[in-house]
């Protein structure tokens, strides 16, 4: 019997959970196909099918859906609503499977299990695996076991995800502060930062300029600490991580400056950016906010990075 082919578009949460998803589906005896890294054609395909105001990562995601849709049996577009009690995903991610179905007419069957800790609590995993088991005609116990073995969304064990993000960075790159070099903290959403086409290969260019980009994924303690500095718990999952990462980087003496990379019409980031700029930068470190959309050019980003690096050199000298 031929293996069922599951397509996972390389966009949005793929950059956080791809490895666990792949292992999960392989354990269930499926073949996993993910789309290639974003390139100009994929982005164009995404832009062609979407309305103008949607944010760049969502458009890119839909481009990946377009690439995959004719070669797989199922498309895996999970509906992540909340991965913990206190926070939500962004509304566009909550509506992601419906967005995909609305943008394309001939989609293969969409596997859209819902992950909603806020509503289901301990039963969230069962709610997540049940539709998968049904769609693939597997026993729900088997699916749940595969899930438990492979997927762990908890912020307490970010090691796997951290390793993953380093892999997606340049292979030789270090992501920890180094002495004697200009350490530039980079905060932003993984799906924008680690998509080389969208972030215009930001990390590599920074290294070329002699900077050492530092990306961290804050752990639960760091998030809790950052939330005590700002007046209200940030209730977007990734927004919260961005704020906490910025807080940790601003505090760290070894970091010379911080860059916040966001997509230009990102809803949560329009607010968290304001928080970061006004509340967290208590030591008045050099800070820059880079917003990216489909019209951003490599050269534009590079000029701004050069100026930023020059500024840091002057401040520290």
């Amino acid at each position: 019997m031929r293996h069922l082919r599951i397509g996972i578009p390389r966009g949005l949460l793929f950059h956080c959970y791809a490895e666990s998803w792949k292992l999960f589906f392989r354990d269930l005896g499926c073949e996993v196909i993910s789309s290639p890294e974003t390139n100009a054609d994929i982005l164009k395909e995404g832009l062609r099918h979407t309305v103008g105001d949607l944010c760049l990562p969502v458009k890119t995601f839909l481009g990946h859906v377009a690439v995959l849709k004719d070669s797989v049996d199922f498309l895996f577009i999970p509906r992540y609503i909340s991965i913990e009690q206190e926070s939500y995903m962004c509304p566009k991610m909550i509506g992601l499977p419906d967005l995909a179905r609305a943008c394309f007419t001939h989609l293969p069957r969409v596997l859209d299990p819902m992950f909603h800790v806020k509503q289901f609590g301990d039963k969230a995993v069962a709610e997540f695996t049940r539709p998968v088991a049904q769609a693939l005609s597997l026993s729900s116990a088997l699916t749940a076991a595969a899930y438990k073995k492979n997927i762990d969304h908890d912020a307490e064990v970010p090691a796997e995800q951290h390793r993953l993000s380093m892999l997606l960075l340049d292979k030789e790159g270090s992501t920890s502060p180094a002495t004697g070099r200009m350490n530039i903290g980079v905060v932003g959403r993984p799906y924008l930062l680690f998509d080389r086409h969208l972030s215009k290969n930001l990390f590599a260019f920074m290294r070329k300029l002699g900077g050492n980009p530092v990306y961290i994924r804050p752990d639960a303690a760091e998030i809790r600490e950052a939330m005590t500095v700002i007046p209200k718990w940030v209730y977007w999952d990734m927004g919260k991580e961005v704020v906490a990462a910025a807080h940790t980087l601003f505090k760290d003496d070894r970091i010379d400056g911080v860059i916040n990379v966001c997509s230009s019409t990102c809803g949560p980031d329009s607010f968290t950016g304001d928080l970061i700029r006004k509340r967290l930068n208590q030591r008045n470190k050099p800070y820059m906010s880079l917003s990216i959309d489909e019209h951003t050019s490599d050269v534009g980003i590079q000029t701004r990075l050069e100026a930023f690096v020059d500024m840091i050199a002057k401040v520290t000298a």
Partner: protein
């Protein structure tokens, strides 16, 4: 303590008089003007949504007029609204304003609302607080009822502008009804003054369902008074989102009115299987309802960068293609021009009229 609450449609009319009677020193912000918007835009984050900017402008104007406390509802997502108060407070403090800021973080929980009322007013008794809160809700429902009557009479009126004057009068008399008894006695009178408007009884106007983000739909300043514009084009507005419905879904003060969110969720199944925050589910569900009920088309309005409505807008575009049903999405922000909106509305209404006459078959 002079308390101010940013505007949202007619809501301030519903509570100001009642709360004043119970010892709250209310200072509603002046009605929003272009100056309000400019103030808000100047100090807001660039990509904040339009309601945020207008609210911020409201707050600044009210503080300039002598208010020294702000009440801003909050919440916990996923829409940005829940975080408005925090960012606005930060901006206002930076500008040097002195004030007390209170947020009710669970505006859809009855106990929180009751506590808020007891907190700001002289009322100490829990039962009295309930009674006041439900009176405010009933007044809101009455105001919405008057607006619905306006939607019916406006396109049919013979003397231009008569209905607008009647609506103003209706709002005035509802505002004066500050107890349950008075409110129940007022409503027949409101209907009567609307019935006195001279209308063209034979007219069968084109109908348009107005849906979208609740603030932009119910706040005439934010949507450039789009309902009046449609009325003047002889179009009957069937508004799908009402503040009183939103409140009723949470507080069930009109037990015989169906829960609109739950209803929309049922209708939207297949197109939007889970509410993506805000009014997304209402937009999708009621677009399908409008189509089923034979409303000629749907006008979907939202603020620029509104996250939930962007999902909804993509989905209703699909509905429009699947079911050959006219849908127009309009985005509002501080740069929107009136001429642009009028031109697009006229084209849309033309299209609806021609479809109705059968001169074009497909949308």
């Amino acid at each position: 303590m002079r308390l101010t609450v940013p505007h949202m449609g007619l809501l301030s009319t519903a509570y100001t008089r009642v709360l004043r009677q119970h010892g709250v020193d209310m200072q509603p912000p002046p009605a929003a003007t272009i100056k309000t918007l400019n103030l808000g835009v100047k100090h807001s984050p660039e990509f904040a949504c339009l309601p945020f900017k207008i609210n911020l402008g409201n707050m600044m104007e009210a503080l300039d007029n002598g208010a020294d406390a702000i009440l801003m509802p909050g919440g916990y997502g996923p829409c940005r609204f829940g975080y408005y108060g925090i960012i606005q407070e930060q901006i206002l403090r930076e500008l040097g304003y002195q004030f007390r800021m209170s947020t009710t973080d669970n505006p859809d929980k009855l106990s929180d609302m009751i506590d808020t009322i007891r907190d700001i007013s002289r009322i100490r008794n829990r039962f009295d607080a309930y009674s006041v809160f439900f009176l405010i809700l009933m007044r809101m429902a009455a105001l919405d009822r008057a607006t619905a009557l306006y939607h019916y009479y406006k396109p049919r009126e013979i003397n231009r502008g008569e209905t607008d004057a009647v609506l103003k009068e209706a709002i005035r008399v509802i505002d004066l009804a500050d107890s349950y008894t008075k409110l129940f006695r007022t409503m027949p009178g409101v209907k009567k003054i609307f019935r006195a408007v001279a209308i063209d009884k034979g007219l069968r106007p084109v109908t348009v369902g107005v849906l979208g983000e609740i603030f932009v739909v119910i706040e005439p300043f934010a949507n450039l008074d789009i309902e009046k514009k449609l009325g003047e084009m002889r179009v009957e507005v069937r508004r799908g989102v009402w503040l009183s419905d939103w409140l009723n879904d949470r507080f069930r003060f009109r037990p015989f009115r169906r829960n609109q969110t739950a209803y929309a969720k049922k209708l939207a199944r297949g197109y939007l299987n889970y509410p993506a925050g805000g009014e997304s589910i209402e937009t999708v569900g009621k677009t399908l309802l409008c189509q089923k009920k034979g409303v000629d088309g749907v006008l979907h309005i939202m603020p620029f960068t509104c996250m939930p409505e962007l999902v909804a807008s993509t989905v209703i575009n699909r509905i429009s293609k699947d079911r050959d049903y006219p849908v127009l999405s309009l985005t509002f922000d501080e740069h929107v021009s009136e001429a642009n909106i009028i031109t697009r509305l006229e084209a849309f209404v033309d299209l609806l009229e021609r479809r109705r006459n059968g001169s074009i078959s497909r949308y």
